[in-house]
Amino acid sequence: MNATLPAPTLTSSLSQTRFPLLDLLHPRRFGRSALLALAVGLAAGSGLVLLVGLERWMGTALAILVLTPVAVGKFREDRRLFGATAMLLSVLLTVQGGHTVEHIVQWAQYYLLGWPMRQANGLLSAANAEWVHFVWNWGVLLAVIGLMRGGMRNGWAWLLLGVAVGHTIEHSYLLVRHYQVLAELRQMGVAGVTAQGLPGILGQDGWLARSPLTRNSFLCRAPGLTTANRIDIHFWWNVLEMGMLLPAGHVFLKRNH
């Protein structure tokens, strides 16, 4: 995937602007169609949820589906104007931004609405499955590697890579544990029980907090890292990723465009 990315082009002047990320993310000529698609998607999605009783995640998925053609058009234009690496950055910022919104919604469902942990699944609840998280985070990691190979190499990018690697390891661990627990449940003849939402490496009851290898060590004393619940842990993983991605992209565009 990465080998096919051409070198950054100098077909625009993103580096001249104060906030090149805003220019990159600007819908430009797709502004009206994006707004229209958003309005139609939201109206259709929420309407079907409210009137027909469609599940919330289906309504959300519908809205995203309606927006997708416009987004694809916009990303193609990004590639034409700024090159493949900038386009990849644009895609990652968009989807990861949406992903962060999903985590904020989960946080609000848990803390503000008082929903139980297992029901605070965000807007795309059906996508809150371990394999989806696993695929997503490997995707993000590969995209970050692609961006770095395409020229986005700066201090922030290296930090971003570290965070993305950590987050991917966490979700790989979670996926393995998820299937191990499901196998145990099957062996006991238990069906219809979700094993979603188990502790991972970090957080309350996670590996760091409970492993005999870390017991009574300084690692167990890290507040938050060994005490935060799953919603907080993954909220902060994404905040960190976005927190690194934005300046990494900014510096990249300033230097290369």
Partner: protein, 560 residues
């Protein structure tokens, strides 16, 4: 500027990590020992302790001739909660006897004949929960008190001092009329008499036909103040899921407060006596607490004069996939809404005082997860001068664990050794990991040899006595007597053993833990090289006594 730019990413990440870490910092309050005002002369008898059996570096398990729940064909919630026990010297022979409550048969006294030999005396008092040995009427004889399942209320067996068969007579407690699950005794009013706090388990009352327990005037948390003619009741709260009650100084005002451990989403209740209002006031001293608080325990775990509070909850100690799979169906079924600002977490909590107040340090000290935990006790199990922790666990409920054999979640009881730096570490090599479903538990020196044994009232299995055969240091036992007072066993006294290696502190309690009573006999362990300097006794009325010229491996009988 260039340097700034270079290090800005690193700085930003550090700030984010710090923000991330700040989630756990919590405030709290302080507890200290009372300041003495007068000196009280005492007479002291030092009795050599029994010789120890050859040490084996582990506890040795003995089955006791008592079992609760064994007659039930199927155990469901809340028979699943089992029953408690108490240990004290009921006949004055120097050996600690045992009192067991039972959910499905008569309660029983197990008379200690010495050499860990017991004979059973049944009491015609079936279907009991909490078992307490306490001198209710201040006559110098230890009485028996039970809470009963469902609508059975409280039963009081007065000790008439007669021969064994006729010693205990069922007697009314005037003014005590509520239902009860958890009980606790202490002198809360400061008049010397022992007052009673009783709490109901409203969920169980619903099973027994009380549709809305909070509207029933016999349900809730009750403070019964002892007086000349009986008890005066004050209902502290109609809402109650009381599994345990601790009477200890939480707010540092040198008076015992009332801490009720509630099950489910109902937060624990804590009340302090407000002198200005001349009434019990609800307070919220803890920023975090256990969610389904099963029991409360306290002790000076750092030998620094500060109490730490420990509460138990349901949290698997084993996070292997197999263990999680055994828990998961129940966890999914029991999930409750999460209220905004809810301080409860489904885990054990260890409250220690730090600047700003009480803070839960259980996650950092290795005590957050001990399984489906019921009774927890601090006690110096290895006689090294530090309070260790023992927790009994397990669950039997066919409606929750139908996916497991016999509806039973089998777990190993957890023994955690105090490492001296604030941390605890599991010590499976001590042989305390019994897998019977433990409920009530006491730590008491049952063979009088200067180390603490454990006695567990198991559900659907025989009770266990775990004899301490660790190769450990010497011990010292202290019995306090205060004849002529309304509190002849000095419940509420605080005792310090001053050694060359530090000061060890214990308090005389009538009841604590899960549905259980504490031995009035205090136990101190210490390292062999510790020089014993003196014992300081802070009597409940604030008077101070000191005892010097101490010999290790003796029992002090101190009479004021």
């Amino acid at each position: 500027m260039r340097l700034f730019r270079r290090y800005t990413p690193l700085l930003a990440q550090c700030i984010l990590l710090l923000l991330f870490s700040a989630c756990a910092a919590q405030p709290g309050a302080l507890a200290t020992a009372p300041a003495p005002t007068t000196l009280a002369p005492v007479s002291v008898v030092q009795i050599p302790l029994a010789a120890r059996q050859p040490c084996a570096d582990r506890f040795v398990s003995h089955t006791l001739p008592f079992a609760t729940g064994a007659r039930l064909r199927e155990i469901r919630t809340y028979e699943s909660n089992g029953a408690g026990l108490s240990a004290n010297d009921l006949d004055g022979d120097g050996d600690l006897d045992l009192l067991f409550a039972s959910i499905d048969r008569n309660s029983a006294i197990l008379w200690n004949e010495g050499g860990l030999d017991f004979h059973v005396q049944e009491l015609a008092d079936p279907f009991t929960r909490s078992a307490q040995i306490v001198d209710v009427n201040g006559d110098g004889l230890l009485d028996l008190v039970f809470s009963r399942r469902g609508l059975g209320g409280i039963s009081y067996w007065q000790n008439r001092g007669a021969s064994a068969a006729e010693r205990f007579v069922l007697t009314p407690l005037p003014g005590v009329e509520s239902y009860a699950y958890a009980l606790a005794w202490a002198d809360l009013s400061g008049d010397g008499r022992l007052d009673l706090v009783a709490g109901t388990y409203n969920t169980e009352l619903k099973q027994h036909g009380i549709a809305a327990p909070e509207t029933d005037e016999r349900a809730g948390i009750f403070y019964y103040e002892a007086g000349e003619a009986g008890y005066t009741a004050t209902r502290l709260s109609p809402a109650a899921e009381a599994l345990s009650i601790g009477l200890t100084d939480v707010d540092g005002d040198l008076r015992p407060d009332i801490w009720v451990a509630n099950d489910f989403g109902l937060e624990d209740g804590v009340w302090r006596w407000g002198d200005n209002q001349a009434a019990w006031q609800a307070i919220a001293p803890f920023a975090q607490m256990s969610h389904s608080t099963m029991s409360i325990e306290w002790g000076d775990i750092g030998n620094d004069g500060k109490l730490a509070f420990f509460s138990t909850d349901m949290n698997p100690y084993d996070t292997s996939p197999g263990a999680l799979a055994r828990w998961l169906p129940m966890m999914n079924a029991l999930e409750e809404p999460h209220l905004a600002g809810d301080p409860q977490r489904m885990a054990n909590v260890l409250q220690v005082h730090e600047t700003g107040g009480w803070r839960n340090v259980a996650p950092y000290r290795g005590v957050e997860a001990t399984g489906w935990s019921w009774a927890a006790r601090f006690g110096d199990l290895d006689n090294d001068g530090l309070l260790d922790l023992y927790v009994v666990n397990g669950m039997i409920a066919s409606n929750l664990f139908g996916h497991l054999d016999n509806g039973e979640l089998v777990e190993e009881n957890q023994a955690l050794r105090n490492l001296g730096d604030g941390d605890f570490a599991p010590v499976p090599q001590w042989g305390l990991g019994a897998t019977a479903s433990g409920r009530g538990m006491v730590l008491a020196d049952m063979d009088g040899d200067g180390d603490l044994d454990a006695v567990v009232n198991n559900l659907r299995s025989s009770a266990l006595l775990l004899e301490n055969r660790l190769c450990a240091g010497p011990g010292l036992a202290v019995d306090l007597r205060w004849p002529g007072s309304a509190n002849p066993f000095a419940v509420g006294a605080q005792v310090e053993l001053v050694t060359s290696q530090g000061v060890l502190r214990r308090d005389v309690r009538a009841s604590s833990g899960y549905l259980s009573g504490d031995p009035l006999r205090l136990h101190f362990g210490f390292a062999p090289q510790s020089g014993l300097q003196e014992v300081r006794i802070h009597w409940p009325d604030g008077a101070l006594s000191t005892v010097t010229e101490l010999l290790p491996d003796t029992r002090l009988e101190v009479t004021r």
